[in-house]
């Protein structure tokens, strides 16, 4: 018999790539699942669950391991560290697996991967953890709110302390909590060629559960499918996977018939195609990106989706393009950001980001803003958006922008569903918080160029 796939070894491989290397977990997981497409649904689910669960709870898991190990987590051999992490996740969070199985599999895996001499260590730490799991003393919110949030929700402290300056403890806890929730996929229904009912019928026929999103009538949540790319509605281009926060960008851009739009950081193209759809074939959307591969992917998407009023173009948003000067009715500036609003979907972002990287991002964001504002014609609008939470990359950038360029904020209330209207949206911008709002964490603002 050939060796069968050892699911735990697959997970360990992914964790090694993600926590010890530079790879992003959603990419590695996606590639791995694609590679193991022939595995049973149950086995694929196990790989996803243990990988995502371990990463989601990494700080908490490390806290638990250090309760039972004399060796600090960061002094362990990388392979042993990750083996213990995924095993502790199973011990704590997967009741269906007997503790003894978790421990035995871990010991076996340690041996198989050449750590014969550490079998005893793995065995000892995991047995102690299995026995003592219920008696662990965790930090308390009233004694140390920061430590409490960090260990309970596995969030790095530097992010939490910034959020706590800006939002209430309750709000921050809700955001952290939402990152742990299941994330149903939201799709935009493209009803230009087929009706909404036909699309939903097709999805349901192929086993999807479909439910309406409360904010936008063309947004629905789908679940229950095995492999999204195989759905008829996906292959036909009737649905586009996109979070509602992203859809709101095109809502507040509110293009008029025939508008010329430039999306300066367009890849993968969701907001641009949405704009093009909203223009109903009129006008023109130029979806720019600086990455050649992404541009050709976008062009493929445009062709597959049969969009005629959109083109993908290879252009760097930080480089001034003379030909676009004062040309566009709408400019989308969806800048590269720290991504702290989408931690729920990309678990490892929080461990990758740090204050220095964020500083660098802010510099790029301001550069892109200062270049892109040139393209907005008098009376035209610039939509600024990020998928992050926190003033540094959002409100502070708006402040910088308004101080330096002839723009003013314009209310976005007319374009928003009623539930989202608030004091700041009346003023022209909105910080969406997952757990508080039913979207990813996201920031969007509508800036109008003063008439000359």
């Amino acid at each position: 018999m050939t060796g069968t796939v050892n699911l735990r070894e697959v997970v360990l491989g992914i964790l090694m790539e993600v926590t010890e290397g530079e790879a992003y977990s959603h990419v590695v997981l996606r590639d791995t699942l694609e590679k193991y497409q022939y595995l049973l649904k149950r086995d694929r689910a196990f790989i996803s669950r243990v990988t995502e669960g371990t990463l989601e709870n990494l700080i908490q898991i490390d806290y638990i391991i250090e309760c039972f190990s004399k060796v600090p987590i960061h002094n362990m051999k990388p392979l042993i560290r990750n083996l213990l992490r995924m095993s502790v996740y199973q011990l704590k969070y997967m009741d269906s697996i007997p503790d003894s199985a978790v421990v035995n599999e871990a010991v076996r895996l340690a041996q198989k991967r050449g750590f014969y001499n550490l079998k005893g260590f793995v065995n000892g730490v995991l047995r102690a953890a299995a026995r003592g799991m219920e008696d662990i003393v965790y930090p308390l919110p009233q004694e140390d709110p920061l430590e409490y949030l960090s260990v309970s929700y596995s969030m790095p402290k530097w992010i939490l302390s910034r959020w706590l300056e800006q939002f209430s403890f309750e709000e921050v806890e809700k955001v952290c909590d939402s990152f742990q929730d299941e994330n149903p996929v939201t799709v935009r229904l493209r009803t230009d060629r087929v009706s909404r009912e036909e699309i939903i019928d097709s999805l349901e026929e192929e086993g999807c559960e479909v439910s309406q999103h409360p904010y936008l009538d063309y947004a629905v949540r789908i679940s229950g499918y095995n492999y999204l790319q195989a759905l008829t509605a996906f292959r036909q281009g009737w649905i586009y996977v996109q979070d509602v926060s992203s859809m709101l960008v095109s809502e507040i851009a509110a293009p008029n018939w025939g508008d010329y739009c430039i999306d300066v950081c367009a890849a993968p193209g969701g907001k641009s195609t949405h704009l093009a759809d909203k223009l109903k074939g009129s006008g023109y959307v130029e979806a720019r990106d600086k990455n050649e591969e992404k541009v050709s992917l976008m062009q493929q998407n445009i062709d597959r989706m049969g969009i005629i009023n959109m083109v993908a173009a290879l252009k760097d948003a930080t480089a001034f393009d003379q030909d676009s000067f004062h040309r566009a009715d709408i400019v989308l500036c969806d800048v590269p950001c720290s991504g702290l609003g989408v931690i729920g979907k990309k678990q490892d972002i929080r461990y990758r980001m740090n204050p220095a990287k964020q500083e660098e991002l802010i510099r790029i964001q301001r550069r892109i803003l200062s270049v892109s504002q040139n393209y907005v014609k008098p009376g035209g609008v610039l939509i600024y958006s990020t998928c992050t939470i926190g003033a540094d990359e959002n409100q502070m950038n708006l402040k910088y922008f308004l101080e330096n360029y002839p723009f003013h904020l314009e209310t976005i209330d007319p374009y928003l569903p009623e539930q989202l209207r608030c004091r700041t949206s009346a003023g022209g911008y909105l910080q969406l918080l997952p757990g508080v709002h039913e979207t990813d964490g996201f920031f969007l603002a509508r800036l109008k160029r003063n008439d000359e």
Binding site: M1, T2, K35, L40
Partner: protein
């Protein structure tokens, strides 16, 4: 170390029933050792004598916990059920879903003809069933639910991790 040629699906010998071993001879001892070499070389977890062209009731198994050699094995208990992918060194590049018992006990003899009992769960149970089937000329492909999958693109690239 001597490697033997692994017979592939379509070879008549894989459909034949094997004879019992009445006495351990130096020739058969060499066969056992070659079977282990061949199995490890092919990165398999089990191999039966007919797969290297010898119609005797001998199997070798190693699921990562050390080698098991079984001569004249007989299954004395099987219970439970597991569903999972299975592949065979005689059917390279393919895998398929096979339902197997989840817990089995096999009695037989080791390479020194001393009686042994092997109890297996999960993967070991699956491997025991798979190899014992070979001794009766049964290929897993006849037990597959649904279709065989291509695993050619699934070959693991060599690991570059520190040890």
């Amino acid at each position: 170390m001597a490697l033997r040629k692994i017979r592939e699906l379509g070879d008549e010998i894989l459909t034949k029933k094997c004879r019992e071993v009445s006495e351990m001879t130096p020739r058969l001892k060499e066969l056992v050792s070659d079977m282990l070499d061949t199995m490890y070389n092919a990165e398999g977890v089990g191999l039966a004598a007919p797969q290297v062209g010898v119609l005797r009731r001998i199997v070798v198994i190693d699921i990562g916990e050390g080698p098991i050699v079984l001569v004249n094995p007989k299954m004395t208990l099987q219970e439970g059920q597991q569903e999972g992918n299975e592949g065979c060194l005689s059917v390279p590049g393919k895998a398929g879903v096979v339902v197997r018992p989840d817990h089995v006990i096999v009695e037989g003899f080791n390479e020194n003809m001393e009686p042994v009992t092997v109890e297996g769960q999960e993967l070991l149970a699956r491997a025991l069933c798979h190899e014992l089937d070979h001794l009766d000329g049964v290929m897993y492909t006849t037990r597959v639910e649904g279709e065989l999958f291509d695993t050619s693109e699934l070959e693991e690239e060599p690991d570059a991790e520190e040890a």
